[in-house]
Amino acid sequence: MVQALNSALDVMLERDPDVLVFGQDVGYFGGVFRVTDGLQKRHGITRCFDTPITESGIVGAAIGMAAYGLRPVVEIQFADYILPAFDQLVSEAARLRYRSAGQFWAPMVVRTPYGGGIFGGQTHSQSPEAIFAHISGLKTVIPSNPYDAKGLLISAILDDDPVIFLEPKRVYNGPFDGHHDRPLTPWTQHPASEVPEGFYTVPLGKAAIVRAGSQLTVLAYGTMVHVALAAAAEGGFDAEIIDVRSLVPLDLETITASVRKTGRCVIVHEATHTGGFGAELSALVEEHCFYHLEAPTQRVTGFDTPYPHAFEWEYFLGPQRIIDGMKRAMAE
């Protein structure tokens, strides 16, 4: 998946001289997760470069560049560190088009690794997607596999509005299914690891049905797509698993069509429970599928605590908790 993201940036740097890539440790070194590896060497130091350690400064500069007419793609080293840039994203990038009535806009992408399962503690594990999905004027996208990662990132770069691109870092190197005590399967054995070399897109706002099923619908994104697949297999459920892929814009049609078919819905995310994006999904399912529902929609989420370091695998949402959620959804 790291190579797929690298390839997306490479393709876009090659294709469009207005694309710039920058962030902390992004240039010479190629990023702490290696996503920008080799890009500076291939495309030159003014196309891919290192920045001072100030997330709000990086995003502020990117807004100015985007307003000029470039397409900056910035990296925030961990999503946990994006909060200093929150004001620039929420008060500035997200509203520039609106407040100028279309005179200025900010075609920019903020890439940032998110999520747990890496023993990162409070400062390298959080899932802040809901606070961005809440903001009008921002798009929020989360891939779960290499093919989508490249296609969605290219779509995000082509998009004329600011996109928060959250990369589930636990699946950077393989489709982690939540079983931390088993060896990690590499991406090479996964069908979505077939990534075309050149340019292609995966459209924003289209969910993917990663497993067709009839008993219940599971809505997930990022690492949780793989954990949900494991849960369905291990729990023996014929679940229809939907990879939401894009929270804003949201593919409501695919979601509601599935829930109307199955009559049951389980929503899974790593982020803390209260006010999480699962609450929005649950409300939408309620509003659009009420008369098709045979059981209350279940949310299986992170606990409402900060991310604890010593209790990684008690906190991290594994297949068993999803199986329990599926059982609750099937109980009535």
């Binding site: 710039l20 003014t46 920045t51 001072p52 100030t54 709000s56 400064g57 502020g60 500069a61 990117a62 807004i63 100015g64 560049m65 985007a66 307003a67 000029y68 007419g69 470039l70 900056p72 200093p84 004001d87 620039q88 008060s91 500035e92 509203r95 520039l96 088009r97 609106y98 407040r99 100028s100 009535a101 279309g102 005179q103 200025f104 806009w105 009008s136 004027g137 798009k139 998009d159 004329d160 509005d161 814009p249 409501l252």
Partner: protein, 405 residues
């Protein structure tokens, strides 16, 4: 000895007589004008002194005299008078309920007007809400400004934004946020983009002395220094951030210009009420930026003539006539005095120009009011749902339908 906490406090408050005797005001014409490739550390005195061109009598003196021709002086004077007339009219309009809000720039007209003339029209300005003089100097239609202020049916920003937070892309005027400080780093990004593209346009940014406390100020200076961005970073020190005097922003022990030196950026401290000094300092910074020498910090030393906004009563926290006693005078009076003294202008011409700008504002006002003002006219309500994204969004379309639109 027990420790004690220092909280800065101004020497004069409401009810006191204004007293500016503590201010160090060096004479005009004494500071050198260095070459534009000077290093920040070699021209420190310019960050601690005060660049002044006009002396007490209105004579232009010293190395910073920009030696402007009469036509440019007249343009500058006209722009300042027009800005003041515009402010007066809009202030009254607010009191008459025609708009919810207005901010005047009284006493600070030389900053926006001289700087607009020192920049090229293509240079992008990231301003605060007190540089309306830039739009006026660049001949942006007054009636458009008023339509925005009134949020009427012809509001160019479709009612999306508060009064006076203009946006005028084709006049090199970046959309005003209303959050203070945030746009300082964006200006640097814009300048970096221009440099990346090999463009010739530069950026200019303005911030109040109060907002130099924000992280965005530090970000901007850091990025500007690191990437040698072609940008002019202005700090308008008008001594008041609503009710907080400049000491609360860190002005007691040093100057705001001196902030630049720590970043390795050349810094100039300028009499902001001296049109010629403002113009000359800005030209110096513009030349540096265009020659790929990077950013300059300019502190424009001035005094806020009136309240922060129409929602503010400054007599609650500072001496009532402080602004009139400002020892560096009024920028319009001083330029007028200079022009008359040098034979480029006469009292009669001045009176005629004042009448002319008043007529121009009155005519624009009549035109805008004919379209409508707050409560009598507004943009199409459906425009509320426009410009959130570049492409239509299903949620917004549905929400619009809920309103029956």
């Amino acid at each position: 000895m027990p420790l004690s906490l220092h909280v800065p406090t101004p020497t004069r408050r409401s009810g006191d007589q204004p007293d500016f005797t503590d201010l160090q005001i060096p004479p005009a014409g004494v500071l050198p004008r260095p070459a534009t490739d000077a290093l920040a550390a070699d021209i420190r005195e310019l960050a601690y002194g005060l660049i002044r061109v006009l002396d007490q009598d209105g004579t232009a003196v010293g190395a910073w005299d920009p030696k402007l021709d009469t036509a440019l002086l007249r343009r500058g004077l006209r722009a300042m008078l027009l800005t003041r007339a515009f402010d007066e009219r809009m202030f009254r309009a607010q009191r008459q309920g025609k708009t919810s809000f207005y901010i005047k720039c009284s006493g600070e007209e030389a900053i926006a007007c001289a700087q607009a003339l020192a920049l090229d029209r293509g240079d992008m300005c990231f301003t605060t809400y007190r540089q309306q003089g830039i739009l006026i100097t660049r001949d942006y239609p007054l009636v458009q400004m008023m339509n925005q202020i009134f949020n009427n049916a012809h509001d160019p920003l479709k009612g999306h934004q508060l009064p006076i937070l203009y946006s005028a892309r084709d006049h090199g005027f970046f959309s005003l946020s209303g959050n203070v400080g945030t746009q300082y780093s964006q200006a640097v990004g814009w300048a970096m983009a221009s440099a990346y593209r090999g463009d010739e346009r530069i950026a200019a940014a303005w911030i109040g002395e109060g907002s130099t406390a924000t992280g965005d100020f530090h970000n901007a200076l850091t990025f500007a220094a690191v990437y040698r961005a072609p940008v002019v970073l202005n700090i308008v020190n008008n001594h008041w951030a609503i009710s907080s005097f400049d000491g609360i922003a860190g002005g007691e022990a040093t100057t705001f210009a001196a902030r630049g030196i720590g970043y390795g950026l050349p810094a100039l401290r300028v009499d902001g009420n001296d049109f010629l000094a403002v113009y000359a300092a800005t030209r110096w910074a513009v030349e540096r930026a265009r020659a790929n020498l990077g950013a300059t910090v300019i502190e424009l030393f001035t005094y806020r003539g009136e309240g922060h906004s129409t929602s503010d009563d400054p007599t609650k926290y500072r001496p009532a006539d402080a602004a009139r006693r400002w020892p560096l005078g009024d920028p319009i009076d001083r330029l007028q005095q200079h022009m008359i003294r040098s034979g480029a202008w006469s009292e009669a011409e001045h009176q005629q120009l004042v009448a002319e700008v008043n007529d121009q504002v009155r005519a624009a006002s009549a035109q805008a009011e004919a379209i409508g003002t707050l409560k009598t006219s507004r943009p199409d309500i459906a425009s509320m749902f426009e410009d959130v994204f570049g492409q239509p969004d299903d949620r917004l379309l549905q929400q619009r339908h809920e309103l029956g639109l």
